[in-house]
């Protein structure tokens, strides 16, 4: 059942077994998986069913250091969360990507299989040979290949709010409270247990909730913000006794239009690298370095997409277009309008040559590459509280995203290695664009906020344990990509969903 919290009487107290804060991919997955049992599940979502500028502004904050999208522009604060403008790219992490995690990939495998369905994807296989056709073979890098081809599947994309709303509505043990903003986390005297939550509505009542277990599922920036603001007992913030909350912020660095590829004539068929339906499922190939090459060269994980003529960044323009549309529809003038318009117009300009080629059936002169890079976790890359407060009195945050000092050099080397590989195999030649520099990287990231409540068995190394429970607090858990201790070049959504299913199993075992 859904409730509009603005209609609750002041000081209402909600009793539940499990409280879930946030109704994005993590929160909705968790709630759905807990549906039907005898546990009372209460889900609290800050927004309503639609975008509201006033609620969205609760996300306002500052960006310092490495330039980044305004932090209220790349997340969405209403039912369904950021999946409301998600591009849909999916792929489970590889075995090697779990280095630094307290468990191996095999522990997540059964949940990945279920996440495949939840994200409305095709068959659970990511082997390139399962996604190629005679007309779309991957590039042949020959013997002793130093690069390989991989494949992403694309979700429709699943908008978790509209798609799974009915499931939550129908579950008799689930109550979803909309327009409910978490403002306080109450604990016992030594902050070893959460005893309740305080909520507030914008221009509405304040109320509380009690449960046996609590799960924060509000995203990679908001999860640490909530914990840092909860500083009534632990002055440095809940779970922050070792100054780890908010640190190790990670996002995929993106280097768009970084190089031009010219293939020999006739150039190889490159349909594998287009976003195309294969047996009814949208899939898109990419190129990536082998683990051996990465190890040998000290390279971070990255993938390379190959696009005729122009970089594949229409996702960013779509997100901007949706934000502007939703904001105008709600009767407001969008924040950061210059940023959004720049994205929208840039996409039109970049797509023009491709559209021309499609219309005229002409062969592209060249192909461009775009790199998506996973950088090593850095404690100085972080989310921290600032003194300004939002409309509900919570301190806002500043984001200081950092890239390794040798990032540019490393990625130029990566380009060089790809150029060598193309030449070695007689496929073609690569030209690094002059824009393949830090200047090009600074405004390019993938809106994947990770790492700020990282997972580790040692409380001095991580905020949450292997079960996503905050170290030192018996009944407070975190769901979502903020628990990732490391990451790969894959989009995080599928792993967020898989981890939420795993957390659900754990909560069920506790409750029983």
């Amino acid at each position: 059942m859904f409730f509009d919290s603005t209609t609750l009487p002041e000081n209402t107290v909600i009793e539940a077994d499990i409280c879930i804060i946030g109704a994005g991919a993590a929160g909705i997955t968790l709630a759905r998986d807990l549906a039907g049992g005898n546990r009372r599940i209460a889900v609290f979502e800050s927004g309503g069913f639609d975008f509201s500028q006033e609620t969205q502004q609760l996300y306002d904050g500052e960006v310092v250091g490495q330039p980044f999208t305004p932090i209220n522009a790349d997340r969405l604060r209403f039912f369904g969360g950021t999946t409301n403008h998600w591009s849909g790219s999916c792929r489970p992490f590889d075995e090697a990507d779990f280095e630094g995690w307290p468990f191996e990939r095999s522990a997540l495998e059964p949940y990945y299989r279920r996440a495949q369905d939840i994200c409305q994807l095709g068959p659970y296989t990511y082997a390139p040979e399962d996604w190629m056709t005679e007309e779309t073979p991957p590039l042949d890098f020959g013997p002793q290949a130093r690069f390989r081809s991989g494949v992403f599947q694309f979700s429709p994309p699943t908008r978790f709010g509209p798609v799974y709303r009915q499931d939550l509505e129908a579950a008799s043990n689930i109550s979803v409270y909309l327009n409910a903003n978490l403002v306080t986390i109450e604990t016992n005297d030594n902050a070893s247990e959460v005893t309740g939550l305080g909520f507030a509505c914008l221009n509405g009542p304040r109320f509380r909730a009690h449960a046996r277990h609590y799960v924060l599922a509000t995203g990679g920036i908001e999860n640490p913000r909530i914990l840092l603001n909860a500083n009534h007992v632990q002055k440095q913030g809940l779970g922050n006794q070792f100054d780890l909350v908010g640190r190790y912020f990670m996002d995929h660095a993106s280097i768009n239009n970084s190089a031009m590829l010219l293939f020999k004539e006739p150039h190889p068929k490159l349909g594998f690298y287009d976003l195309n339906p294969v047996r009814g499922q949208r899939a898109m190939g990419y190129v990536y370095p082998t683990p051996e090459l990465r190890h040998e060269e000290g390279l971070p994980p990255f993938n390379i997409t190959i696009t005729p003529g122009s970089p594949p960044d229409t996702y960013f323009s779509k997100a901007s277009l949706l934000t502007v549309y939703r904001t105008l529809l709600s009767g407001h003038w969008p924040d950061h309008i210059g940023f959004h318009l720049e994205k929208i117009f840039a996409a039109v300009e970049l797509r023009a040559p491709q559209m021309y080629q499609r219309v005229t059936h002409t062969t592209p002169q060249g192909f461009s590459t775009a790199y998506m890079v996973g950088c090593p976790p850095d404690p100085e890359s972080r989310v921290a509280l600032i003194d300004t407060v939002d409309a509900l009195g919570l301190r806002r945050v500043e984001l200081d995203w950092r890239l390794p000092p040798d990032f540019e050099k490393t990625m130029l080397r990566a380009h060089e290695l790809l150029g060598q590989e193309l030449g070695r195999n007689g496929l073609g030649r690569l030209r690094m664009n002059s824009s393949a520099t830090m200047q090009n990287v600074v405004n390019a990231h993938h809106h994947h906020h990770m790492g700020t409540t990282r997972m580790h068995t040692n409380p001095r190394e991580g905020v949450v344990d292997e079960n996503c429970r905050i170290h030192g607090i018996a009944n407070l858990f975190v769901a979502g990509s903020s628990v990732f201790p490391t990451y790969s070049f894959d989009d995080p959504t599928m792993t967020i969903v898989a981890l939420s299913l795993r957390l659900s199993e754990h909560l069920k075992s506790l409750a029983s």
């Binding site: 060089e416 150029g419 060598q420 030449g423 690569l430 030209r431 690094m432 664009n433």
Partner: protein, 128 residues
């Protein structure tokens, strides 16, 4: 340096020329001179010359056919006299193998952002 469309197309041609050997033998104008035969493997002399100029600006000690030819022949394990006896196809195949080997061994040159093999840039430099 301003990258011209002609430059880019020439580089594309470089990518293809050693992998799809010309069927015809050397034209009569292509003498038995090793340097002339070697540089004839470059299909776009004008752009090849531009690439060659950039290369020689990086490696001025290699300027001139008398310096370049022995370096190229040595990398191909050929003597100057061997070249005259080779058909275009055979010479082209040898160069193609050498180019790939350059890439494999990382013997590459950055020409205005293009990742090219040293052998192919030296061949271009023969046009200067």
């Amino acid at each position: 340096m301003i990258v011209t469309r002609r430059f880019i197309l020439a580089a594309a041609a470089l990518g293809a020329c050693f992998t799809a050997a010309r069927a015809s033998p050397f034209a009569s104008a292509e003498s038995c001179d090793a340097a002339i035969r070697l540089r004839s493997l470059i299909p776009a002399p004008g752009s090849g010359r531009e690439i060659g100029r950039v290369y020689l600006a990086k490696c001025p000690e290699e300027a001139g056919a008398s310096a370049l030819t022995p370096l190229i022949l040595s990398s191909l394990s050929l003597e100057e006299g061997d070249v005259a006896g080779l058909e275009f196809q055979a010479l082209s195949a040898k160069v193609a193998m050498r180019v790939r080997s350059d890439f494999e061994q990382g013997d590459i040159v950055d020409i205005d952002g293009w990742i090219l093999s040293r052998t192919e840039t030296r061949l271009c430099a023969l046009w200067t």
